[in-house]
Symmetry: C2
Subunit: 188 residues, 2 copies
DNA sequence: TTAATAACTAAACAATCGGTTAGTTATTGG
DNA sequence: CCAATAACTAACCGATTGTTTAGTTATTAA
């Protein structure tokens, strides 16, 4: 019927993901995406429609990759200790080939947001954050003696710590981030 | 001799600061700066040389404004309790007219950084972070029973929490951020 | 009053932004 | 083998990026 695609969409998305992860949304240009994905603009636009389309597809793929880690968190009956393990697993997940810790793709992008940001992207990132928060909540709930209010407080605290871990990775090195995690969980 | 400037440099810098604070470095354009500062490109360039020049001047001014809060932290003999107060003071400092919490100008900008970022900006932001960390350290040192290693760990923990507070402000509201602060200090 | 100086306006600069499109190349069913 | 179809290349789009510059207006010392 017609010519075959010379690339696999899921593969080029994972390549694009690296860029968004490292640089955020705005700083990543179509030119950079062309180079990194190894295909040209036409192919990118015919496959994903727009830059936003590429990004949202990357978020989807990122979410999928995170599932392996969050599944472990979901299945663990270790309560807050399970969350701690999640933070360590996440740190491994979030580093590139040079041990540079990229933080969380989603929280990095969330940090770019302001009142005027694209509502679709805003919504996607917000939903993602809520999803993780829900996982934290159900784990905290396993712990004895917490009221429903305290459970929410603790979960939000862990979410905010995740943000901190993410932003701090730009300034701190890996051992320091490990100290950070130890400190987060030192009072539980 | 010649015509007088029709603006005061420190005043237009403070106006520019609002933009960088809210939007970060990249997203803030010269066009936006012109409008917000109330002067045109020529004046901006003749006063500050470049966009980078404007930004670095903003960081300087931001640092000055923060001094009022850090001075309180420096003079307090309340140890970690003093740091807690600093976090609350900072939260007040970091909100705009609509109660939107902008986070920290410096940590917001730090979050944009990657390996390829401008080394001058990178350095300025890193120095700033170190300065705050130093303040935290001297406050933690006031507490009894901490080893030198523990003092550094605690200080880094507070710095990272500051990052978290900053990034999280994009997603959370003010009451939740207050809960976050309470949680940070609940184990001390 | 006038010449010198500096701050102003506004248009333009090359480069890049995200996005499109005309024309060519490869694949496949009939 | 050939027409139909879709993926490719590459030039191009208008808009915007940070930055510069030519020309005008205001100020002041002489």
């Amino acid at each position: 019927m017609a010519r075959k695609k010379e690339y696999i969409e899921s593969e080029v998305i994972d390549k694009a993901m690296e860029l968004f992860w490292k640089n955020g949304y705005e700083t990543t240009s179509m030119q950079m995406l062309e180079k990194q994905m190894g295909i040209n603009k036409f192919s990118i636009y015919s496959s994903f429609g727009s830059k936003k389309g590429v990004f949202l597809e990357c978020v989807k793929s990122y979410r999928k990759k995170l599932l392996a880690i969050t599944d472990k968190l979901k299945d663990s009956k270790n309560g807050i200790e399970g969350i701690k393990q999640y933070f360590y697993d996440f740190l491994e997940f979030a580093k590139d080939n040079n041990d540079f810790i990229k933080g969380c793709l989603v929280t990095n992008a969330a940090n770019e947001l302001n009142e005027d940001s694209d509502p679709i992207i805003k919504n996607q990132l917000s939903n993602f954050t809520k999803e993780i928060r829900g996982l934290f909540e159900s784990n905290v709930r396993q712990e004895a003696g917490f009221s429903e209010v305290q459970i929410q407080e603790q979960s939000d605290y862990f979410i905010v710590s995740m943000f901190g871990l993410s932003s701090a990775s730009r300034v701190f090195n890996k051992p320091q981030l490990h100290i950070f995690i130890e400190n987060i969980f030192s009072n539980t």
